[in-house]
Amino acid sequence: MQIASMHFKERAHDNMGNAQLQGNLQKIKGKFVAKRRESLAELDDFEATREAARVVRQRALDDLDVWLEMFERNATTRGATVLWAETPADVNLHVLAIAARHGAGKIIKSKSMVSEESALDRAIEGAGRKVVETDLGEYILQINDYEPPSHIIGPALHKSKEEVSDLFARVHGTARKMEINELCLEARQVLRKHYLAADMGISGGNFFVAETGSVVLVTNEGNATLTTTLPDVHVAISGIEKIVPTLEDVATLMRVLPRSATGQSISNYVDVLTGTRGEGEFHGARHMYFILVDAGRSAVLASEVSEALRCIRCGACMNHCPVYQNIGGHSYGWVYPGPIGSILTPSYIGLENALDLPQASTLCNQCGVVCPVKIPLPDLLRKLREQQFARRLRPWPERAGLRAWSWLALRPRLFGALTRIGVRMLRWLGGRDALIHRLPLGGGWTEGRDMPAPAGRTFRELYAGRRADGAGR
């Protein structure tokens, strides 16, 4: 996907001024936040389950090479082909080679965020083959000239029912539908023809299971089941970090994944696909490929933000992020938005290409509290900020200001003397209402807020004065 993370501020500005989008973003709190809270109440002990999920994911990462090789062995034994993609471009090359090998002119696809990293759909179309997204949200975006997703589990979350109505009427050439049921039915009728005519199906992979060589798909629309079983060829694409050692581990993670994502006890569909169609079996692909994607992940694994790779893509961090809730996913400018995106995006595309993202958080830690695999998101954002500071990837006045502050705060006498002057000046600036309406060098603050003026004396000088008075008496 084209990288637009350097335009974070402008995009956030535009999105905050977009009344339609602001209305659509309101869905997050009812649709995701409230439902998650209700569904977690079903668990006897969410914290213990969450810890178990963390352990499962961390164990996978700690010996990732072992599990990957085990996966490759077991998948191969069951007739699948395992391919490795070091870069996003390699993903596209593999897919196009597979399509060419099987003469696949028409390809259907269920949801895969990894494939957004390499803009796979455009590469397929560029090679003269047809690809149709079958996840409803992804389909909506595809027919709207490949609009980027704004959320990892609700890619078209930023769109309203009315916008989808207009889009369907325009693209399908049908009468404008007003009800969501009617829109779903229309999408189903359109997509059904594609399922039956497709030569090849591409899916993502929520988990790759090392002990069985299976891919696990967690979905709600049934489209992944059709995509992966109707065509003769199935290609499952996912990041190397999505491996888990055992099916038992999947069971643990499934206790927290749908609940954290959509507030469901279990998703409508959970597909566990293992090997090619065997003798006497009724369905399943005859040719099965796994593409395991690195694209920066092994570098992250070796870095100080490696815990981000525990992510199971539930979206809870963005759903609960007050910044995301107000600016929407497109502001972040790449595949993964919200708090986890603010760690993954700079890690995958380069810190220098996403300078705002590690900074674009109040570190309120709502994300860290809801993460089902206990990724310490604020701590990881802070690590990236340290790298930015060390690599001089922040403006010099900011770095100089921080250095000056700690230099001064290490010298209590000077700190006391200068702050005594400073608070008097600011008190004077505050005027009669004790509010500073325009703060020199603090325009970022006073553009939208007043700065309450200081009282005019520091605590330290007042306290020292009172002590002196007390001693004198």
Binding site: K9, N365, Q387, Q388, S406, R449, R460
Partner: protein, 240 residues
């Protein structure tokens, strides 16, 4: 019981009265107060902005200033959260300092937590009469577990009626330097908070951190609300 009082840089510079109010409450609970005269900043601005070296230097200074006390108490969830949950990270490669920092962290308390759970303060001197709503600050709530403590103290004031706003646990948008670097987003978050405060119908919003206080008060006033008071919990509890 010798309590080291860490006033925090924001209270020191912006609202010294809050520091004195906190001291009155601690003394009412029987604490002997010691205010290290050289105290300045806990290092959080640098820590959160990537200046790890600056943060380490200030953390080292603070540990030295307070470790002789039985407790460290501060009128802030943010600064106590820094000491209690982040100093260990700063000193992860310095075993000697790590031990000292962890020993201090174990004795570090946010003001209302200390009043309720250590001093077990029964009566509070404040005489405020009116409806208040409480804003839970992020670090206080999610790092220090401050939720019931301020409410328990407010319940000891007969004239105070607490009306919870919706989303009282949602960030007000301050976020330290975030509030200046991303002023527009910070303002939007503060605006949401102001709308919720207004909807609660409270006469005052009460909170436990200066950052939130300046941010919320600044936005309320810019919105033209000069009526809703913004009070630190220490001021309310200690009275005039």
């Amino acid at each position: 019981m010798r309590v080291g009082f860490f006033v925090t840089c924001l209270v020191d510079l912006m609202r010294p009265a809050i520091g004195f109010a906190a001291i009155r409450l601690l003394e009412a609970g029987g604490a002997e107060i010691f205010v290290p005269p050289t105290q300045t900043c806990c290092g959080q601005p640098g820590y959160n902005s990537g200046d790890r070296a600056g943060a380490i230097a200030l953390a080292r200074k603070l540990v030295g200033e307070f470790e002789a006390c039985d407790y460290l108490v501060a009128p802030s969830g943010s600064c106590t959260g820094m000491i209690k949950t982040h100093y260990a990270d700063l000193f992860r490669d310095d075993p000697a300092m790590l031990g000292r920092a962890e020993a201090l962290a174990a004795r570090t308390f946010e003001l209302t937590d200390f009043l309720v759970n250590v001093l077990k303060l029964d009566a509070v001197p404040g005489t405020f009469t009116g409806t208040v709503t409480y804003h839970d600050s992020c670090a206080g709530l999610r790092e220090m577990g401050i939720k019931q403590q301020p409410r328990a103290l407010l319940a000891r004031m007969p004239g105070v009626k607490l009306t919870e706003m919706t989303e009282c646990e949602t960030c007000c948008g301050f976020g330290g330097t975030f509030s200046i670097k991303y002023g527009e987003i910070a303002t939007r978050l503060a605006d949401n908070k102001c709308a919720q405060i207004a909807a609660s119908g409270a006469d005052a919003v009460v909170l436990g951190d200066l950052g939130c206080m300046l941010n919320i008060e600044g936005r309320l006033r810019r919105r033209g609300d000069s009526r809703t008071r913004v009070l630190h919990i220490a001021e309310l509890l200690a009275g005039g």
